[in-house]
């Protein structure tokens, strides 16, 4: 098993190298003049040149790249120019917020979309099937920022059910003592139900926004692979053996249909990480997505590079997890290793 993980990680290395190079180049092509930005409103050209030299931006691209890679090798992602803090610290502080939101969104999406997909497949061609398709498709048809703003408008502004979109906790609650960085978990560990409810309340609307966006691909894939599984011969055998519909649908059909669904999850996760950026902006969420946008707009290279690299590593880790899940679900995959 360990060898397999190692192997899988090794295959990810070229992609990660690709990510590092592409991000580096992309951030350097950005039109912003970082030095001018940080020289402030009243800077003279000399002042800007000084700052440029100080930031090392006057060196050639290859030189800059080499020193960037050297830093990377020591785990140093550089300092954010705009906040002055080490990018590693910032990402460490913000990643849990994004991760908590993204995972809860993904979890919600799975919890809704998978049953929908199964239902649609079992009742293929019926009104229910069409309705499932419509609902899931409608969710993915709106720009995610718009869904978010709409939900805020309805559930916060009009109805007052949701708390103010002020980030992870309202201004007057204090964060639970940090263990995992996930407020939901940390507050439970601290047996602080009040904070748990407060942070869940803050999470609910943004997580729903994310979930709505990712329903369609999961539901569509669940339905398609369930249909394939239900039409398979082993399901016919199971039916001919008199097994109950629940056993047939769940233990025989769904377990087999899971593989493509799990594969889709990897892709959906990648999309969610992107959508996350917009959702965080809408909900004033102190995650790394909003951090990255601000940095990108400020042409602040280091955080953008750090963000993309973190996301890439998360993506690789998730895919590793999915591969391992594959092994759990499908013995054929396990044997090949």
């Amino acid at each position: 098993m360990l060898r397999q993980i190692g192997k899988r990680l090794a295959t990810a290395i070229p992609s990660l190298i690709g990510v590092v190079v592409v991000t580096f180049l992309l951030t350097r092509v950005l039109p912003g003049d970082t030095a001018a930005y940080f020289a402030g409103p009243a800077a003279t050209p000399q002042a800007i040149a000084e700052i440029r030299a100080k930031l090392g931006l006057d060196r050639s691209l290859p030189e800059q790249f080499v020193s960037y890679v050297k830093d990377l090798a020591t785990g140093n992602l550089g300092n954010s120019l705009s906040t002055g803090r080490p990018v590693v610290t910032e990402i460490k502080a913000r990643l849990p917020a994004s991760a908590e939101l993204t995972f809860l969104g993904l979890f919600l999406a799975i919890a809704i979309a998978v049953p929908l997909g199964i239902l649609a497949a079992v009742k293929q061609g019926s009104i229910i099937d069409h309705a499932c398709r419509m609902v899931a498709t409608a969710g993915v048809s709106l720009p995610v920022f718009f869904t978010g703003l709409l939900l805020v408008y309805v559930f916060y502004f009009l109805l007052g059910w949701a708390p103010a979109p002020l980030g992870r906790l309202d201004a007057f609650s204090s964060a639970p003592p940090e263990v995992t960085g996930f407020y939901l978990i940390d507050s439970l560990l601290a047996r602080d139900l009040e904070t748990f409810r407060a942070s869940l309340a803050q999470l609910a609307v943004p997580a729903i926004t994310m979930a709505v966006f990712s329903l369609a691909p999961i539901a569509r894939m669940t339905r398609a692979s369930m249909l394939a599984a239900l039409a398979s011969e082993f399901v016919r055998t199971a039916k001919a053996s008199g097994l109950t519909p629940t056993t047939v649908i769940i233990r025989y059909a769904f377990r087999n249909a899971l593989l493509p669904v799990v594969t889709t999850l990897g892709m959906v996760f990648s999309f969610l990480l992107g959508a996350n950026v917009l959702v965080e902006k809408v909900f004033a969420w102190p995650g790394i997505g909003s951090y990255a946008i601000e940095a990108l707009i400020a042409s602040d290279f280091a955080p953008v590079q750090g963000f993309v690299l973190t996301m890439a590593i998360m993506y690789v880790a998730l895919n590793l997890l999915i591969d391992m899940l594959y092994g759990v679900i499908d013995p054929r995959v396990r044997m090949e290793g």
Binding site: R133, V140, S141, P143, S270, L273, A292, V308
Partner: protein, 295 residues
Amino acid sequence: MSVAATPAPAQASAAVATLKHARYIIGENPVTGVAFGIFVLLALAALIGPFIVPFDPLASDTAAALNSPSAKHWFGTDQLGRDIFSRVVVATRLDLGIAIFSVALVFALGGLSGVAAGYFGGWTDRVVGRLADTIMAFPLFVLAMGIVAALGNTVTNIVIATAIINFPLYARVARAEANIRRDAGFVQAARLCGNSEMRILLGHILPNIMPIMMVQMSLTMGYAILNAAGLSFIGLGVRPPTPEWGIMVAEGAAFIVSGEWWIAFFPGVTLMLAVFCFNLLGDGLRDIVDPQRRT
């Protein structure tokens, strides 16, 4: 070239059969029918929209700013008094354009390289695979943002960025489908007939994976529009005053709380309908273009 061997009447009858089949699919699946209807409307709007709209979509009229929907302004007016209905209709061409061109581009890039990877295997496969993996490892929207920010926010660059982030999807689907067929009987037969590898790839394999690619294209067309909208939200969309759904929604969103719901609502609904329609068409399309499911 090869079509010469097939006389025209056969083509015509095939076309008639396709039409009949399409009518059948729509008859059987009302959802696809509805989606198709929306598509026709959108296509119509894109073609003749600019000639039939009641107002100049760019003309401001501050005296009539922020009017709610009325008989004169069906969808109301925006902050500068521009007629939202006219803007929504005129924007169809640009939005469909972005969708179609980005899909065409990603099909040309991802689809073809994916087919080649699946068919030839070996280093082609490894290179395309690595490329797809690398792109996939980016948070896709952020990559699009970066590309547009770096190259400048023109329509062309939005199209390019959208195409690039969809590359892995196309490459993977095309690769998988080509890989299944690389040793299929008809491919072997084509080899025996003296077809070169390139001709087999383009003339035999590609047409056969088109149905699946069409589904993929239909789905990503919707995604392309959403992507453009997201870029508009963070200020990287098309240039004003060009009407575009995403930018109208993004700008209109600021007016929701103050009660001018129509500014974001109508472009939003149109955008949603378009994406919705592409998504649903994807499913229906597969039935229409896949001859094996026709009898």
